[in-house]
């Protein structure tokens, strides 16, 4: 390759420095928040005068925070399952449409990704008010599902594009019904795409705050919503502890996902 790292000569050093700076820029805030979570001062003093685990103790004994984690998890997992199922049906439908409608369908399903989230949020809020879904689990899931579906449809469409339809046709000519051919032949080949769809869908719900603020009720608050609420009242180091927990969880999640992906190959 012309532009491989080895061929860059003296530029290599410059490139290394730039890479280091960018990484530092990305990592610094995270390091800061992790350090603050162990800070003994309740006023977020930096550098921390003493180290303590007090905020973590507070966090893990607070039923409100634990409840929020549960809500986030329940909403996230429900959204994931529904998003992958609906995404699969949708993507298969779109990819097999031969008409001129295909691009229109595709755009329609990817729309929530392009639209400003706040617009989606307000529209959903206004609509849910009418049909009394505001503040319900069901409403929450539907709202996040709308945000998650484009990622799922996109990932599965991409996966389908890499599968030769002739393989499924071969199965049908072998005597299998179309449905059985999809279940037995196409779906197994689609596993990596379904996996990506699941991860993206979960993350779309897990760290979403704008729509969640509109959908939340006092008893139904996801973690990002509670962080937002607490920030407005008082700035306690518990927030730093929550953030650290989220950073660790997300990190584990992505590592796990990448690990499983490379296992599959």
């Amino acid at each position: 390759m012309l532009l491989s790292f080895e061929n860059l000569g003296p530029w290599r050093i410059a490139l290394g420095i730039i890479a280091a700076l960018v990484t530092a820029f990305l990592v610094c805030p995270l390091v800061l928040i992790v350090m603050l979570s162990f800070d003994s001062s309740p006023w977020l003093v930096f550098p921390p005068p003493h180290w303590t685990l007090r905020w973590y103790r507070e966090l893990f004994t607070d039923p409100d925070w634990l409840g929020s984690f549960m809500v986030s998890l329940e909403v996230g997992l429900t959204v994931t399952v529904l998003s992958v199922l609906l995404g699969l049906i949708t993507a298969i439908g779109i990819s097999r449409t031969r008409t001129a409608w295909r691009p229109a369908c595709e755009t329609a399903f990817l729309m929530p990704m392009i639209l400003p989230v706040v617009v989606t949020a307000i529209a959903l809020y206004a609509f849910f008010l009418r049909i009394h879904l505001n503040g319900t689990f069901c409403g929450f899931v539907i709202a996040h599902l709308i945000l998650a579906l484009p990622f799922s449809v996109g990932a599965i469409l991409n996966g389908l594009a890499h599968i030769d339809p002739a393989i499924e046709n071969a199965a049908v000519l072998c005597g299998s019904s179309r449905t059985y051919a999809i279940m037995r032949i196409t779906l197994p080949s689609l596993r990596p795409a379904l996996f990506s769809a699941a991860i993206f869908s979960f993350l779309a719900s897990w760290d979403e705050v704008v729509v969640a603020i509109f959908m939340a009720s006092p008893s139904l608050q996801t973690v990002p919503v509670r962080i937002w609420g607490n920030l407005q009242q008082d700035l306690s180091p518990v927030i730093a502890a929550v953030s650290t927990v989220l950073i660790v969880l997300s990190g584990l999640f992505i590592f796990g996902a990448n690990f499983m992906k490379s296992e599959k190959k």
């Binding site: 030769d164 002739a166 393989i167 046709n169 071969a170 000519l173 072998c174 197994p188």
Partner: protein, 354 residues
Amino acid sequence: MTAFLSIRNLHKSYHGNVAVQNVSLDIRKGEFVTFLGPSGSGKSTTLYVIAGLMSPTGGDVLVNGRTILDVPSNHRNIGMVFQKYTLFPNMTVRENIAFPLVVRKRPRDEIEARTNEMLRLVRMEQLAGRYPAQMSGGQQQRVAIARAMVYEPEILLMDEPLSALDKKLREEIQGEIKRVHERTGVTILYVTHDQEEALRLSDRIILFNTGRVEQIGTCTDLYTSPRSRFAGQFLGNSNFMPVEIMDAAAGTIRLPGGACVENVRICDSGDVDHPLLMMRPEDLTFRKAGDCASSFDGQVRSSYFLGNVMNYEIGIPGDYTLTMRVYIDGTEHPPQTGDRVSVGWLPHKAIVFR
């Protein structure tokens, strides 16, 4: 005799673009028929309609006199091998071959026995446990043939199954296909645009051109009696030369040089603007100068050796070039590049298209 598989006035267009028009064929049981033709001539489309993967815009497909157009693909009992590799990537060779029997819910010992039989037929017993990604293209296509044959379909469709393979492997699997055909007596419809493959395998060739059937016949029919310039040009090499027809009934023509020749076959081809004489390279021979009317005087432009035959390019007056292929028996001295020669031809073997 009624045909086993009949195609009647088949027509297929994609959004107004005609891919197949007015194709009619009758195929006997157990026949090996090849669809030959240039790219985009409608061979695959015809095959897909028979398989039920596409529905025609007109016409009918009959098996034993009954239409199969209303039968879904998976109930047509047709086997198909595709140009692309279509083994199921998540199954081993054995599972791939057993799949058609599994979906038919056959008893387990029958599946076992049939699968073993097919593995033996395509000589893949050693690799039965492999996954498609662990095999060469030729091995995959052999498994695909076994999978398409395991449920004993009456018709086997093959759409350029060997076009992705190199020449040596292609010939090996051609032999394999021929053997499978002889052993099982299945009716095979085979698509290729490789004329050598068509000649080697088939009982009959169906020559396609721009969505129509140009000519149907045995390999020798097509080679010795092409019915159009297209057919003459597509199968084998040919020399073409514009001529004038003096007397169509007697087969008298006038060559560009002015000489008249009798007894030439005249054929209404419909794909030429001007009468055109066709001569096969192997029908040309060297003569002594001025021997007879049906000869051309010229000069050897180039020659190359092909085992026991020589290939010559002869320049003749009027700026035409004749290609000829001559058997060399070693007794006489063959002409060299630059030599002046006289080339004779046999009027009854030549054809004039008009």
